[in-house]
Symmetry: C2
Subunit: 108 residues, 2 copies
Amino acid sequence: MAKLSPALVEVVAERFKALGEPARLRILTALREGERTVSEIMNATGLSQANASKHLQLLHSLGFVARRKEGLHVYYALAGRDIFRLCDIMCGRLEQETTARRKLMSRA
Amino acid sequence: MAKLSPALVEVVAERFKALGEPARLRILTALREGERTVSEIMNATGLSQANASKHLQLLHSLGFVARRKEGLHVYYALAGRDIFRLCDIMCGRLEQETTARRKLMSRA
DNA sequence: TCACTATATTCCTATATCGTTGTATAGTTA
DNA sequence: TAACTATACAACGATATAGGAATATAGTGA
């Protein structure tokens, strides 16, 4: 991997921080099966309109989601599948942790 | 991938948030080549002692780093290489963005 | 025991950001 | 134009957290 230069560190951290918010992860999860309007995202996630809109702005500005305007509606969609690769790795880590914990428990 | 359940979302977000801090990314980068004492990490990252210690506690509590005590020193080490796979994916996203931007520029 | 070093912890302040409320804008339909 | 809907934006309060300063703890050596 490219060694994280000081400048790069800031940018990469910004991306991780964006994913470090349950509301935004919920939005991304809601977009897994295809593009959705803001209203649909609100329903799927339980977020308020203003709140959903703000999170979507951020996700869009960082390139996580694409937007498409059609009449009154704005459709948002995932800008790539690699977001879920990230989540997979995180979940993999979690599994390792829990199995390790289980081993510790059973050993005692 | 396992669909992110509501409970899982919270936990995964917590992990991403931990990586969403430049100081902690700098620490992890400093640990790339092997275990380091807190003092060494302070030198490598420029963090203050208290600050480095606090970030290390968090990284350790989330399973990102392992610790080993030896005399006066405490050695920290990466708990796995997958952290850099995460960074790689993020950097890959960044590259795609910049090349896409470049295309837009040249097209105009 | 005393002095010293390495690390952890506590307390404090400043800043960031989440979520809400209210409002503005843009598109649609009558 | 007027009324309505979908989305965005601005302002605000509340909470979280980063970093600094001071202190505590633990290990070492004289």
